[in-house]
């Protein structure tokens, strides 16, 4: 901070050939003239002083019989003085100020924060449909109505806050952390079996359970009906109501597992040749600076771009970076039996982890690996206890 203030006031680096400048320093101290970075040189010493204080040195210098030599002048006052007659420079500064003012009136970046289920692209595309996009007027973005629209159109978003910061629009989102929100079905529905199995447990909250623990069920069987029949004391049907069945039905069933991996593979071998071009992007239009052509047959392009920003949130629609083209050649290879076994085992473990994340309990499994010259496969069945949640609209009986 001190350095910035000094530069704003202008700094003079001066030297003296007096071998004993101590009196001069003490006189400066008495007159409250700040000097710093005092360094001994071969003939005398050199020091830095603020431009305004330099003019006050006349008396101390006269008393000590010293002479000063200015080595360097830096800082804003000297810079302005040097370019005082460059009218184009002044015009350029004014133009830059006007351009900055105009640029600050638009949204130049949309940041989505806190999302995991909905990707940034989904949110940004949605915003674009609602006339909020990169380059739109900042004043047109109404944060309150935008928040309401997002909350209305995305069921899994429980909280949303839109914030304008500099030239950036930040959309803070909080998604539903628990079970995914099931869309309310207006029409009555049954819970049906999605595969063959034996009912392990059933807890019915709404609807009529049609199976019990230990019952065998086939694919498509109705487990919990959305039809509730009301009887009076004589056990005669009085009324029938139709609801959306709600129950936790766990069924012991088996899942067929089949995973095949080709033993042959193609891998990239980078030749080490690359061509780098600098790129500049202004308001979405990209220009490439470079003369060397990248006429490779097979290549990867790596683009690194950073956006120009004045402060953390004051972004400008100008990007600069570089694009590097790396040449590679493809080589054919063949996985060994150990490698392909490892790949299949890893895939299988990932699949089991995925099932566990879905709330499916693994009871037992029986899978085996077959390896041929061309490919390798892992097949078998996994015995699980899984919740059945599949629904089907129930048949509504009408009475004349």
């Amino acid at each position: 901070m001190r350095c910035v203030i000094r530069n704003l006031r202008g700094v003079v680096l001066a030297s003296t050939d007096n071998p004993a400048p101590e009196r001069f320093f003490n006189l400066c101290r008495m007159k409250k003239i700040r000097i710093w970075d005092i360094t001994k040189t071969d003939k005398g010493c050199q020091f830095s002083i603020v431009a305004a204080d330099f003019l006050r040195l006349k008396e101390p210098l006269k008393k000590c019989g010293m002479k000063l030599v200015i080595l360097r002048k830096t800082g804003l006052p000297f810079f302005m003085f040097r370019y005082r007659k460059h009218y184009s420079f002044v015009a350029g500064m004014l133009l830059a100020a006007v351009l900055l003012q105009i640029m600050s009136m638009f949204v130049w970046e949309i940041e989505v924060d806190g999302n995991s289920y909905y990707t940034d692209n989904v949110i940004v595309s949605y915003l674009q449909e609602n006339d909020v996009y990169v380059g739109c007027r900042m004043s047109k973005v109404m944060c309150d109505s935008l928040e309401q629209k997002i909350r209305k159109d995305f069921d899994d978003i429980t909280w949303v806050s839109a914030e304008k910061s500099g030239t950036k629009l930040i959309v803070h989102i909080k998604e539903n952390d628990g079970d995914s929100v099931v869309k309310e079905m207006k029409s009555p529905s049954d819970i049906i079996a999605s595969s063959d199995g034996v009912v392990e447990s059933i807890i019915t909250r709404c609807g009529t359970p049609l199976v019990r623990k230990g019952d065998e069920v086939k694919t498509g069987d109705v487990l919990v009906s959305g039809e509730i029949v009301l009887y009076h004391d004589a056990k005669e049907e009085v009324d029938t109501r139709y609801v959306q069945a709600d129950a936790d039905v766990y069924v012991r069933t088996s899942i067929q597992y089949n995973n095949t991996v080709q033993r042959g593979y193609t891998c990239k071998m980078y030749t080490g040749k690359s061509v780098t071009h600098h790129i500049i992007s202004v308001m979405g239009s990209m220009a490439e600076l470079g003369l060397l052509p990248a006429d490779y047959e097979q290549y990867d392009i790596v683009t690194e771009v950073s956006r120009l920003r004045l402060t953390k949130d004051f972004l400008l629609p100008v990007c600069a970076g570089r694009r590097t083209v790396y040449e590679y050649v493809t080589e054919e290879g063949m996985h060994s039996e150990e490698e392909v076994t490892q790949i299949l085992t890893d895939n299988y473990e990932n699949y089991l982890n995925k099932l566990k994340k879905e709330g499916i309990q693994i009871v037992s499994d029986s899978v085996k690996i077959d390896i041929t010259d061309v490919n390798a496969s892992m097949r078998g069945s996994i015995h699980v206890v899984m919740p059945f949640k599949e629904r089907r609209s129930c048949d509504v009986r009408t009475f004349d």
């Binding site: 101590e22 320093f25 003490n26 101290r29 700040r34 710093w36 970075d37 005092i38 360094t39 001994k40």
Partner: protein, 81 residues
């Protein structure tokens, strides 16, 4: 026993004793400084409110000084109050 000692007052505040702070062997900060008596790139002698302080070393630079304090950098070899 002096008054400042009996009242548990700080010596530097009451008597203007020099406060010398040495940071490693690179920096020396002296408070209650008065004038520079001698300066070269290997030796700096200065007067404080109570006596003199000498700093010897190599490539000594006076980073800044004002009415109360002085800050010296370089390779400090010795500080003699």
């Amino acid at each position: 026993m002096g008054i400042s000692e009996s009242l548990h007052l700080s010596q530097d505040a009451v008597l203007g004793m020099p406060v010398i702070t040495i940071i490693g062997c690179r920096e020396v900060h002296i408070e209650n400084f008065r004038t520079i008596l001698e300066y070269s790139d290997t030796f700096v002698k200065m007067r404080t409110k109570k006596g003199c302080v000498s700093v010897s070393g190599k490539r000594l630079t006076i980073e800044y000084y004002n009415e109360e304090e002085i800050h010296i950098t370089g390779f400090i070899e010795s500080v003699i109050p």
